[in-house]
Symmetry: C2
């Protein structure tokens, strides 16, 4: 297998030379029906409103083949050291099933079995908490779980919890309330703690390394509150579990009610389907719900093996995103879910994409001459329509859009008013927006003129279920992975976060003679 930079690929030169297409001339009802591919979990990816024709898609295929994108995905699945910066395997796919059916060994153990073992522990533990056989220290059933973690230990699990809360309500799945503490700002922990009944709360401490400054600080803050709680018989050690790696200092902490393990082969932003997401989601909704999410993700992982761009949604999405970025030169992408349940999903994708692909050197650490990951932002529709869509429609820059929508709502509460349900109004808005962005509108008054030709894609399905959510999550993970291969970068390390950590320690040590640093610290401390 060859690893070469994007600008060394022949098919990339071809794509740069391909005639630029106008969405307005391409878009027909027929094209809408034809331009889509099935994802896992009952979802579909539709690219009808992207400015790409058959010739461009043929060149996508050539580029995907030339850059051996699917082969590189198989290398990940086979347990090759694809995180070149940290010299690690990349095994998040394995947490939801073995895609290639090939055993992956590391550190003297078969990793599929290791993840399975953790899931079995999660299954048994969450069942005991949910059925009340494991209780709080004062004999009360746990009603709330509170995850303490930051970054990948927060954004993904939180987004997924919020995405499933309404589904659980609609499906009558018993739910434990989940809360999240992440920021080192003490106002974050203080706010969350003020909402908690300590006797019925189980804390989940999540840090792979066991050394994350924010997470350990918040643990200490929580433990301080727990230990001072004026509740007779209260015992803090019956109210906290850990999710960490076996080699971390936390793994040896005997004051935990239970511990669940991850390893160095699961990056934080890819950890939602490991114990990092599994513990909190299984406690909140039951293990069987988490299992369905894994199933949806696995389905999508299998589909991502298809070498044909037109039959592989993650690959097609990756190529479209790359085309927007490197050929058309658009620097950002908006994620627009028409589903309030996905309110924090864009924040998760922001980490997933920008931390994975915001890189300036290739996988061998050599400088590259082309742009990599875009800025990712987004809010749910229709809220965004009343906020930043003005710029999306009529601003001077073009922002490619990724819409997400579902035929049905999750909770089953709806009302018909002015001739239609809320759900129908929601989706009428979504379809209207795609067309408005694509086709625009002429007007004598230039202020009311819409240029159109603003590209978008749509992921859609019947309902946001655990399976659909798992597939949606895996879709974006695999999209980001394929783009990382295209750019020949390492999507699995994050050296860019180190310098800030080092300098923050320096500030806490009195700035060690660094005058500029001290001048800024003096403004704030």
């Amino acid at each position: 297998m060859e690893y070469k930079n994007l600008d060394k690929a022949e098919a990339y030169s071809a794509l740069l030379k391909d005639e630029k297409k106008d969405i307005k001339t391409l878009l027909t009802a027929e094209r809408v029906k034809k331009s889509e591919v099935k994802l896992g979990g009952g979802l579909k990816y539709n690219w009808a409103a992207m400015p790409v024709d058959g010739k461009i898609i043929k060149d996508y295929q050539k580029l995907a083949d030339e850059m051996e994108l699917v082969e590189k995905y198989k290398a990940i699945l086979s347990g090759e050291v694809m995180n070149t910066g940290e010299k690690r395997l990349v095994l998040h796919h394995l947490t939801r099933g073995n895609v290639l059916g090939k055993e992956v060994w590391a550190d003297g153990e078969e990793k599929g079995a290791f993840y399975k073992e953790q899931d079995e522990k999660i299954k048994a533990f969450s069942a005991s908490v949910r059925n009340g056989s494991i209780k709080g220290s004062t004999g009360k059933k746990f009603q709330t779980v509170c995850q303490i973690g930051i970054g990948g230990s927060d954004l993904g699990p939180r987004a997924l919890y919020l995405a499933l809360k309404g589904w659980a309500k609609g499906a009558n799945v018993k739910t434990l309330n989940a809360e999240f503490i992440s920021n080192v700002d003490p106002d974050d922990a203080s706010d969350v703690i003020s909402r908690l009944n300590l006797e019925t709360t189980l804390f989940i401490l999540v840090s792979k390394s066991g050394t994350t400054q924010e997470t350990l600080t918040n643990r200490d803050l929580v433990l301080d509150v727990l230990k001072k709680a004026p509740i007779p018989g209260f015992d803090a050690s019956k109210h906290m579990v850990a999710v960490t790696s076996k080699t971390s200092p936390l793994a040896k902490d005997s004051s935990m009610l239970a511990s669940f393990f991850i390893d160095d082969y699961i990056g934080g932003r890819y950890s939602s389907t490991s114990a990092v997401g599994g513990v909190v989601l299984s406690l909140a909704f039951g293990y069987s719900t988490f299992e369905k999410l894994l199933k949806g993700a696995h389905e999508e992982d299998v589909k991502a093996l298809n070498p044909s761009v037109k039959k592989n949604g993650a690959l097609m999405d990756a190529m479209n995103g790359f085309y927007m970025r490197n050929v058309l030169g658009y620097p950002s992408t908006a994620i627009l879910p028409y589903s309030q349940a996905l309110s924090r999903f864009p924040a998760h994708l922001q980490q997933l994409d920008m931390e994975s692909n915001g890189k300036h050197v290739n996988r061998n650490g050599e400088p590259i001459d082309y742009v990599t990951g875009p800025v990712i932002f987004g809010e749910p529709g229709t809220n965004g329509q009343h906020s930043f869509y003005q710029l999306l429609h009529q601003g001077t820059d073009i922002i490619p859009l990724q819409f997400i929508g579902f035929k049905d709502n999750q909770r089953g509460m709806d009302i018909e008013t002015a001739g239609s349900t809320s759900q129908k109004k929601l989706n009428a808005n979504l379809s209207a927006q795609i067309v408005a962005f694509a086709l625009g509108k002429n007007d004598e008054n230039p202020n009311k003129e819409f240029g159109g030709n603003r590209p978008s894609s749509l992921i859609y399905g019947d309902k946001l279920t655990p399976q659909a959510l798992g597939a949606l999550l895996a879709h974006f993970e695999n999209k980001v992975m394929f783009q990382g291969f295209l750019w020949n970068i390492n999507s699995f390390d994050q050296e860019g976060v180190q310098l800030g950590k080092v300098l923050a320690k320096k500030v806490l040590n009195g700035c060690e003679g660094d005058e500029v640093l001290k001048a800024f610290a003096d403004l704030l401390i």
Copy 2:
């Protein structure tokens, strides 16, 4: 006064020719101390880590003078028709005090008195609700207020409520819980309603026009729930107030407990200091808290009159932002508050900035040849550090950053661990990040190399109080206003949101023969 396009300004040509400066060579401890200006509310704006020197700032001043930025602000304050697209006055400054001391008349009334009258009504009504002399229909005191509104009726008020909750806790200010329903997705209303005790909840229906599809739909959904509530003696009309314009259909709705008025001269995204924000904030925290917020905003509005760029924080911030966008060519800006209380403030600024300045024609509706408003996104620090900062530090694009920080936390709960408090760790991180972005770090391993020269500014103060928050809000409003003047656009209309509304109606009418629209609608409905 002259209105001309940016590219007709001599000082703009001069700025384009000015030598580009390197932050690394500019930044010294002395510069950090000198490069700042006082804002209202005890805040300061520091631009030490911006790549601008004395020559560039002199040219800022020339451009500000040539484009008559402060004069145009005075024209707004004087009641000129500065919303040229909709032929309206722009009066949000007047909701927090008369900056010029000059009366503004419209529609046969003195507008300052009109806003004051609404505030008096809000003061009396909120006091009665908070002291229990106005009760729910079953005789119980109101404990929760729930705002139904979208866009400017949601994002600003919600961001401000969240920003003050911790302050109120720390200052022992009695607080009514506030909830918000915005999205037409029925899962939004359903989720919020499931958390409410209807007997003790007061709904606030907010729509200036009284015709907003989402808001009316959610009102109907809420009323349906209220009317079906199996509570003896429950009367829905005792549980809802309206905030609307006097001429809207809602103003005539006699089923409301009370009505508070705004007018066409307050744009949605500028309405947080009108009754749109005033009712919910006064109910939640008391009118005197809202009054302090107005005072902070007014202080900042007065400071924004200063014609000297170096003495006018909003003007300096506007010039820096313009320089990043039009001279250095950076297409987006990140808002990074190191304060969990400001968790939704970036979402408010996203609307404020992108809806105001995402325009492609000048104020006369003529096409322009330069870029206007940037993409705005952001999350609180330190959370963002564990998410998208990788791209900010090492991505291939430069993203200018706006940091916000406070010496003290709001709630007063903190702990010293590993030698420092959480608050100190928070601010150590903030100062570290500014320096890391500005100066970077050399390393033999290019993957661990930080190029630096990544521009940032810092707004900081002692504590996020109502006054500081008001000033922060007004600072960004005025910054966006000054930038709109620079670009010679109308920052106060939003024609770009119309087409989507028209097409959504078309979908609800069966697509009226529009085949492409129908093809998309068929995927979702």
